[in-house]
Amino acid sequence: MSRYLTLSALAVLFLFPLVWSGYASLEEPSNYLEMAQFGEGLGTYSTNSVLVSVMTVAGTLVVSALGGYGFARFDFPGKNLLFLATLAILMVPYATILIPLYVLLGYIGLQNSLVGLSLVFVMFQLPFALFMMRNAFEALPRELEEAALVDGCGTFRAFTRILLHAVRPALITVGLFAFLASWNDFFAPLILLNDGASFTLPVAVVSMTQQTFGAIDYGMLQAGVMVMAFPCLILFIVLQRHYVRGFMSGALRG
């Protein structure tokens, strides 16, 4: 019983900030209206964030599903080298390659572009995603694919028609991680986007606190926090089984 008392007290401590932020933002509902008109407008920033997250999730799923299938079921020259190179992304600290990425995206015409930012997010997600997808395809019985091939399907048709459905749980896990990471990331968009109209929510709302010369409207700020946090909280609560599964398979990234 005393364990439940301790747990409850701790849960109150952990949940209090979220509850307070929600309450502070709603104390004056006009906070949300003011927030909506700040800068280029909350609509623009939210749209940017949604676009980046959708492109990141879609890109990560396509690249890692194709790659995972290739790595699980085919042999080709350079296979091990490419797999190691992908895993090496985990060893290299995120922050140390953002500046060359900024320069590089300039060379290929993707500086200050939401597409460029999404591609960078796909790259950072790739070690975890490829690892998950390769394991998922390897865990499928070979008979599943064999049957399709005997029926005269090419491997690609077997892949899209049958195998992709069979690895759906892994796709959801990979998609959830990609969404949380791209929606929440602050550092990459801070560096790679330099025009207010292309800012994502975290960069836009943080820049609000650092640009105001007068008093910061803290209620409005908490409205911004809620707009950023709400989709993540809901998605996590609905899909937490998949999140924990991703953890258990040993692939971790903060």
């Binding site: 439940y4 979220l18 790595f71 064999e146």
Partner: protein, 304 residues
């Protein structure tokens, strides 16, 4: 191995024509091609570029000129960076110890599958779903002396007489930031430890108890040693994450007061985008990269 499908499906193994072999290889490459392009263009290329940039005077706008090894020799003259190294190490040490302790405590509290435990696990993890920038802004408001609820609460409980300078002094700014980090990451680390705790077979606990071991003995003689690989993983993640700290300081303290909370990555950012010296920032990046890869290798060897 991968040829078994074609083999068993159609023809005897040894008569598989070379064309099929090749097509299987080509197909494998086609599936892996998007991965190869992303890894090549967005990972390998910037890795090479960061080294090249570090050997050049590389202004934000304008022509780059070779100036090696000036960017590296200038690092020692950068007082902000030297201070940042010490500050970041101090922050990493305190954060890792406190975060590990809190996460281990939480994991032990929620390790048994009892009714209602799922709710507590979710409650502790939930801050982890919130972005670091959002979490920083949340604390920024919550600890504000005029707007936030914490000062009035402490005062009404009689703990303090006047509002506390949460980010107004170097020590308080560090303390507040670490509190924010623990709130945001304790649940995440708890999940890591839970996977380790659940891998310990129950028979081991039963054997220990039947030998008359008390709770403390079970914890120190069984749980901790068997949890070692998981603890090691958590330590590595916490140390690496803390050494690369940026968001929390940029959003929450903005490096202040008086540059007392400037982390190493923050110096790299300022060097590049405030002093427009991308070459110098690249040199700092290379140093940090080499140090972290070295440290990671060392930690993995020692801890595993």
């Amino acid at each position: 191995m991968t040829l078994t499908i074609t083999r068993s499906g159609r023809r005897p193994a040894h008569s598989a024509p070379p064309a099929r072999w090749r097509s299987r290889k080509v197909q494998g490459w086609l599936y892996a091609a998007p991965t190869a392009v992303i890894v090549g263009v967005l990972f390998i290329a910037p890795l090479v570029l960061v080294v090249w940039m570090s050997l050049n005077r590389w202004p934000l706008l304008g022509q780059a000129t070779f100036n090696a090894p000036e960017n590296y020799t200038k690092i020692a003259d950068n007082p902000l960076f030297v201070d940042a190294v010490f500050f970041t190490l101090k922050y990493t040490a305190i954060t890792t110890v406190l975060l590990s302790a809190v996460a281990l405590g939480l994991a032990l509290l929620v390790q048994d599958r009892k009714p209602g435990i799922g709710f507590f696990r979710t409650a502790f993890f939930l801050p982890g779903a919130v972005g670091f920038a959002a979490a920083g802004l949340l604390f920024y408001g919550m600890l504000n002396n005029d707007f936030g609820p914490i000062d009035p609460m402490l005062q009404s409980l009689g703990i303090t007489d006047e509002p506390i300078k949460w980010i107004g002094t170097p020590n308080m700014a560090l303390f507040s930031t670490i509190t924010l980090v623990i709130w945001r990451f304790a649940g995440f680390n708890m999940l890591i430890l839970l996977t380790g705790l659940q891998a310990i077979p129950t028979e081991v606990y039963e054997a220990a108890r039947s030998d008359g071991a008390n709770r403390w003995q079970v914890f120190t003689k069984i749980t901790l040693p068997l949890l070692r690989p998981t603890l090691a993983l958590m330590l590595i993640l916490s140390v690496t994450g803390s050494l690369l700290a940026f968001d929390q300081f940029f959003v929450f303290t903005n490096g202040g007061p008086d540059n007392s909370t400037v982390s190493m990555v923050m110096v790299i950012y300022r060097e590049a985008f405030f002093r427009f010296n991308l070459g110098g920032a690249a040199a700092l990046s290379v140093v940090l990269l080499v140090a972290l890869v070295g440290l990671n290798t060392l930690m993995m060897r020692r801890l595993r």
